[in-house]
């Protein structure tokens, strides 16, 4: 294994190891926070599949997230705990269904146009949930009874939910890592780099993009399901474009094109938000934390174009650049 691949594997193994060990040291607040971050990491991974692998900048990921969450609440019976075995796939299927609808209509468009269309379709889902009686209105709805899997898994316990979420994260990560190396994943990469060449070679690119879109929607729905179960509460703001924007920022901050970037970005962004919101650090100004967040977003996009995961590469290039310039000055080939 090359050093690059080795360091990536080590990073991932260490990260998941730390996450597995965390409940031993974290209190209940910490466990809840890290569960939330892991859910966002799953959501970020779903968007990374679209943006980082396929080159489709979707500004409407919150819709699939929110639909997965609302499905978890709306499909759950009021009296007895529902079984994970059908509820989880059902939520993913509903999110994937909306992704199929949106994808079919948006994927004929490109570039900026595509960004606008996906944003608009997410707004559509937002308004359906916000305005119509279907979604319970602005106040949101509660999930009183958490799903179970037989006698073994009861997601009502925070620790069980933590472990289940971690397992989902590892599975999604592993699946996407394998997918990127597969024929399908390589085709998506090709479509991102040069769709015209892919078509000229004989790939019908639209079905590939649509499949990636639906898959991404399903994974986002999984994240939504987990989020609904964790909080026991869903509200329309889960489908807002601020949510969509936040997920995009997570993967940019973490580093586009790397699966671990989604992980890093989810952590960095959530922790940054917690920092800005904390009154301990900012006192009463913490009310206006979105100002700091906005500035942080601008700064990170401007200064870290390759994200945190791309920092080592950025530094390496800076060092190599210096070395090659020195070599040129000395008349030696770099």
């Amino acid at each position: 294994m090359s050093t690059g691949a080795l360091s990536k594997t080590v990073f991932v193994v260490v990260a998941f190891g730390l996450l597995a060990a965390f409940p031993l040291m974290g209190g209940s607040y910490g466990i809840d926070l890290v569960t939330k971050i892991m859910v966002f990491a799953i959501l970020a991974l779903s968007l990374e599949l679209l943006v980082g692998s396929t080159g489709l900048v979707c500004f409407g990921q919150a819709a699939f997230f929110g639909i997965g969450a609302y499905a978890a609440v709306l499909l759950s019976p009021a009296d007895a705990p529902p079984s994970l075995a059908w509820l989880l796939p059902a939520c993913m299927a509903m999110a994937a269904g909306y992704a199929l609808f949106v994808g079919a209509l948006s994927l004929r468009t490109k570039g900026v146009y595509f960004i606008m269309v996906t944003l608009a379709f997410a707004q559509m889902a937002y308004f359906i949930v916000h305005d119509t009686p279907l979604g319970g209105g602005t106040d949101g709805i509660y999930l009183y009874i958490k799903p179970v899997l037989g006698p073994w898994i009861d997601l009502d316990h925070p620790l069980t939910l933590y472990a289940f979420t971690l397992a989902c994260l590892v599975l999604v990560f592993g699946f996407l890592a394998q997918l990127r190396r597969s024929r399908f994943g390589r085709a998506l990469d090709g479509i991102r780099v040069n769709e015209q060449r892919m078509r000229a070679t004989g790939f019908a690119t639209y079905p590939y993009k649509l499949a990636a879109f639906v898959l991404s929607g399903a994974i986002a729905g999984l994240a939504g399901f987990l989020f609904a179960v964790k909080d026991g509460f869903v509200n329309p703001e889960m489908l807002s474009w601020h949510m969509s924007g936040s997920v995009l920022i997570m993967i940019i901050l973490g580093g586009l094109g790397h699966l671990r970037g989604a992980l890093i970005g989810a952590f960095a962004f959530t922790l940054l938000q917690e920092l800005f919101k904390s009154e301990a650090v900012f006192g009463s100004f913490a009310r206006h934390w979105t100002l700091l967040l906005g500035l942080a977003i601008i700064a990170s996009v401007a200064l870290l174009p390759r994200g945190l995961a791309g920092l080592p590469g950025q530094w390496r290039e800076r060092l190599l650049g210096r070395a090659s310039r020195r070599a040129e000055v000395n008349g030696v080939a770099p």
Binding site: G245, G294, V301, P305
Partner: protein
């Protein structure tokens, strides 16, 4: 619905559609000429509306001006804001990918919203229309219609015609169009492209702010107005076809009608109707109604 109500709603639709067209034109202008997708465009609309509210008192007490003085002061401030913003921020976005532009201008929205919250607060405000425009005018002998709404439509039409004139008949318009096609060529001809872009951007900001100011008496001034108008503008561009001014006009009017009549006839789903319209049109014409001019 009786005929009078129907006609009133038609006029309302027209007014809303024209306002949308104006704001969407500013957005398309900046994108078409400088290649920057500016999510904060809605914030300029919001800033305009809040200026109409916040400047009323100071302008009245400083030199006894009324509504039109507020418009003028607001316009000047908007141009200055646009000029400074382009120099300090937007000029760095031209060479960047669309994703980066989207996220940086998104960050800017958050900054603007919070600054507004700090400076003016989060309450909803009303703005009074000027007295001589506040009444209703009789149309035929069966109904009356607010004069101010007709004024809004007139302002939008006048501005749209003004933009058309500048673009197709003046030297400035020619330089702008040339600059959007071939930046280097225009620069080599000795035209200061940086200055040109700054002017265009300031104009775009001014148009959005003016739209917000003019609309304020009718729509009231509230925190989320920037985001709502921005997303509807996106729908205008998507339905109309990117790059097509004619498409933007048709789309804006279409949305005006669907939204206005939707609110009257089916209030619970009114918010969704515009998007259903968009989905239906994309089903029929994946590239929007018109191709780029």
């Amino acid at each position: 619905m009786d005929l009078a109500t129907f006609l009133i709603q038609c006029l309302n639709s027209l007014q809303y559609g024209l306002l949308l067209f104006l704001v969407a034109s500013g957005l398309t202008l900046i994108f078409g000429i400088m290649g920057v997708i500016n999510l904060a465009h809605g914030s300029f609309y919001m800033i305009g509306a809040y200026m109409a509210f916040a400047l009323a008192q100071p302008v009245a007490s400083t030199f006894g001006g009324g509504f039109f003085s507020v418009l003028l002061v607001g316009l000047v401030l908007a141009v200055v804001l646009g000029y400074v913003l382009e120099w300090a921020f937007y000029s760095y976005l031209y060479e960047r990918e669309h994703l980066q532009q989207v996220l940086m201008t998104y960050g800017l929205i958050l900054v603007f919203e919070e600054l507004r919250s700090l400076i003016v607060g989060d309450e909803v405000h009303g703005v009074a229309a000027p007295a001589f425009l506040a009444g209703s005018i009789a149309l035929g002998d069966m109904m009356t219609y607010p004069v101010y709404r007709l004024f809004i439509s007139a302002v939008c039409i006048a501005l749209a015609l003004g933009m058309y004139y500048v673009f197709s008949r003046t030297r400035l318009g020619m330089m702008i169009r040339a600059g959007s096609n071939n930046r280097e060529m225009v620069q080599s001809l000795g035209i200061d492209i940086k200055f040109l872009y700054r002017v265009v951007f300031a104009a775009g900001v001014a148009i959005a702010a003016l739209a917000g100011m003019v609309a304020a008496p009718v729509s009231s001034v509230y925190p989320g107005m920037g985001s709502s108008v921005l997303i509807i503008c996106f729908v205008v561009v998507v339905i109309g076809g990117i790059g097509s001014i004619r498409g933007a006009l048709v789309a804006a009017l279409l949305i005006g009608f669907v939204d206005t009549f939707g609110k009257v006839l089916m209030p619970e789903v009114a918010g969704v109707l515009v998007y259903v319209l968009m989905a239906a049109i994309l089903l029929w014409k994946p590239d929007g109604l018109f191709k780029a001019a």
